[in-house]
Chain length 341, copies 4
């Protein structure tokens, strides 16, 4: 089958022929891919940023954001059957560790992460497991929802954790309105009555944010920290959701966070540098975020089905993966790029 | 009256004569000081570290950890009367802002911080307000409990926030068993069944920790991060309470924190430097901590009265304030030094 | 001044002349009433239902839902000044007890409840305290917002407590769309993405509910428990907010609550009768609700100012109090009746 | 094999011969029973109380509290192997429903409940599933820990839910110190610093409670509600854990609960009858409790291993099941009766 293969860091992935995956375990599931999202993390993987944390298994197939149809199932699979339309939680999990038994799928001690630690979904078929499958209405087109499998779940997870902090009268800053951020804004609007302030370099992204529920938009032009201070009576935001967290955003995000507030790190690439005196004298928090739980993905599908989260996507054929990655890198994608095998 | 006055940064405070405070507002309370704790923060104030955050009002009287007897009250004070034994919440608050109305006293938008932003309690009398007074059993000796007013409330506040994370089977690291840490260990033992691992440079401090409820102690000798890894099957601690947070402890504390765990910053002086990729790929949190609420101080007094928290203190006459500060700086104080006017 | 006085149980209150209230304590505030809500609780008071719990102080002035303008203040009042437009938290509190210091105003051990335990606001002037005053934009007309002071805060408080239970994919039943319920529906729509099912006897009330955000409406015609089962795949609702809780609603509400769900009691008048086996075998909860906190009232005002909660009211002159009560009793009021002195 | 069989309601179960269970599903596990607890629920099952809720499958084998050794495993079982010592979560679960994916094992939509809905563990062998097995230190004797599998997990689950309500200075009443209650007292002492007040009819049970951590004991002699009022300054307890909930305990428990407090129902057999006015005017809660989660059972095992929970048990041979049930019914068992096949 065709697959988008990464052979070396700092080199563009190429479309090549590889064998189809096969069932070996009783809970294995093979999915015919209907849509595979293209993510800034793919760029970071190509740069080698994830090698230390994950051990990128070169050469391998990219693609950690997938939806499709069940193609084949292992002998003990009972929750889906061949032909079902599914969206896939990004990390097939063991089901037996403390984290799995607590519903914290992203902290399973024995999970894989297809597209990062094993072959991913930028291919015709993908090997996953029963526990990763969220069954969908059969009328759903996988390419329409694939972006919810990683961008969506990650944005939703961060927003859901922030809800108790975002009662009426508070302010939430969203930094970066790309693939994740444009979903984050909608989740905030659907689940809270906080005042949403969106910060982005790109005026078009800010226009999109306004149409999705932002109350205020701020161009990231160098005086945006002051702009947020002005919008909050000098206090700063109760919560900052930083979907960028590199190139200085990680300093601005912290600076925008008010006393007793929380700075959520969702993007990555930069480094926070904060005096501990600054952390304690204001009692602020820095909150890490990664993916989300299986149930959160199901909740997000409920939000999407109710029309409260709408994806902005642009599709490319699988063979045009390089174009999609280039467009993303150059800031030419509004919302999310999706490969369709 | 006599008071311990700081006239300039980097110079030792001196005992001098100043006028007694007077009542001006209807909710003012003047307390005859019975005990005033000596804190590492006093050393940091003398070094000028707090000037940027608080505007240290030189010259002024140190002392932010106080207990004593009510000496005089304003016209609208109803909760205490002259002669009452009291311990003082460190920040007299306005009572009307959102934070006050939520019980988050330490985030009052109009509080003062005697000993940091106004004259403190290393003196014969202290001006505070009705809302800062926690009434005690009249048989309590203020010098015996004064250390709970700041060291105690701060350690208790951090532990209380951590309780939901510390179910049986978890591990909590306590870094530093000084004035705050030795109370923190006791609060952990009283309020959780977590495995308590204490890290300190000083073997005597570790002995004290063992007697207070530590399950394991680790000398901070350069291989202590590995020692914590070994004690936790390689995973790290669910929670790290860092009562040091300077001189490298702030890196060690983060390194000891497991995936999905939380690193609580309570001490200060250092600077955290963490790649955002490291924050998100493990979904760890950095949690700021400052003082605590009025109710938390009352709760801590209940713990102390039940014998579940016992202070290790060493008293000095008010006139020996310089000795107490020198002993603290040199690591010669086990527990807390208390000035008695 | 004119006031609506209750002289005896089971007899209609009458408008009479009483002396204006006067300032006696340093934190007293006298408010010129601009709007006083008429509540089902007033009917219950007249029936004597509150006498056992509160000691109704006959004869006295009704009215526990008030907004107006500050008319006079005590010597220690700093948060409002004469002329300020204010909405009043229903229970002036002591500010010093554990509950007050935790922000749980409705559980103050020394509060009064004007309109229940002392003279209320169906009068030209009302005696309250500084801690009860929420300052409003001076352009606000008190009669437009008065209903938020009790109906609003109570509905908001219950919804706010339910938010963590109402993630996307859940169902919340609202029983009764009167003064409280019509605000509750709007709060749910503003603060959650739950599926809102409204149950009421009155088809017009259901029409109002639809316009305010209900996803489904059910006529309470005897088969409404089954109707809710049908809407939830047989499982029942995750949360039932019962704004009626009398005349059988209290049985229906429990029956509509799913396994592991919560039945919120907000209305009153009936009696729950439930086998403990039924409680434990399904692990369901019964959650009491009364008024709300000062901060919740402020949050609700933020919601109202943002246009996310709109009151449906009908005004009557103070002298027509008897008509308003009669209309309410007969089910002729959509939303809330407001007396304007 | 031998098994304790219930053939008809209101008739004593008898020991008889039945076929050994066999593996049919890939995740099935057969356990050689080492200890099977005898529970008040067994008496209630015999009385027919559970038939309506569970459909008691007469004739069948009793026993819902089991520990032993893995005897045989299905083809897809990976978390345990033959010979492992295990304690069993009482409800084998599907692993795929929302509740399972949230860790709320007791609310699985497709679980069985061996001993209630299918053959239980008062037998030589028991059929369960991989997801029910908690692996233990091989030196553990199953008969020593079996009581934690149902009595333990249920008591622990209720206490764990109550922890956030039980800060220092609060009071918790434990009603009934039998199989569950004597574990509940120890969990409270290990996990909170609340004042523990134990109420029981039996003076010997109260002595046991004192030795396990009770601060006060009260004989349930008719004036015990007043006794709790006296111990709490008239306010009542913040939390009441009612392990009885029949024969009037369900009224006393509610009456002992303070304003804004919570009454936890854990036992059953009685009926709560409460005016909704009483629920709302005090904002009290009634909290259902059933079993607990898989992780809670693992946490409890950690507590037990640390010596913080010690079981008081009395063993009987499997063939003496009738004696054990009779002793329990007559109040002759302190702690828990355990059958050993």
């Amino acid at each position: 089958m065709k697959a988008v293969r990464l052979h070396a860091f700092h080199a563009p992935p190429v479309v090549g022929e590889v064998p189809e995956p096969t069932i070996s375990g009783p809970l294995d599931v093979i999915v015919k891919v209907g849509g595979a999202g293209v993510c800034r993390t793919d760029l970071h993987i190509i740069e080698g940023q994830w090698d230390a944390a994950m051990g990128t298994p070169l050469p391998y197939t990219l693609g950690h954001e997938n939806a499709g149809w069940v193609h084949e199932v292992g002998s003990a699979v009972t929750n889906v059957t061949v032909g079902d339309t599914v969206i896939l939680h990004p990390t097939p999990t063991c089901g037996f560790c403390r984290a799995c038994r607590a519903g914290a799928d992203m902290h399973c001690v024995a999970s894989t992460f297809p597209g990062l630690s094993t072959d991913g979904g930028m291919a015709e078929y993908l090997l996953t497991s029963a526990r990763a499958c969220v069954k969908l209405d059969p009328r759903t087109a996988p390419e329409d929802v694939a972006a919810l499998a990683d961008a969506g779940i990650t944005a939703y997870h961060a927003v859901r954790k922030a809800i108790p902090l975002l009662y009426p009268g508070t302010t939430c800053v969203v930094m970066g309105v790309g693939g994740l951020g444009h979903i984050g804004v909608q989740c905030l609007a659907a689940l809270t009555a906080t005042t949403i302030v969106v910060v982005d370099r790109n005026p078009e992204a800010l226009k999109l944010a306004e149409s999705l529920g932002a109350d205020h938009t701020v161009v990231a032009d160098g005086i945006h920290v002051q702009a947020v201070a002005d919008l909050t009576g000098g206090a700063g935001a109760d919560v900052v959701l930083d979907f960028v967290a590199e190139q200085g955003a990680e300093h601005d995000g912290w600076a925008m966070t008010r006393r007793a507030g929380s700075y959520f790190v969702i993007g990555y690439g930069g480094t926070v540098r904060i005096p501990t005196l600054d952390i304690i004298s204001t009692e602020r928090n820095i909150v890490g975020n990664i993916v989300g739980t299986y149930n959160e993905l199901a909740e997000l599908m409920a939000l999407a089905q109710a029309g409260k989260v709408t994806l902005h996507t642009r599709t490319y054929p699988l063979t045009a993966a390089a174009d999609a990655l280039a467009d993303l890198d150059a800031g030419r994608v509004r919302g999310r790029a999706i490969l369709v095998p």
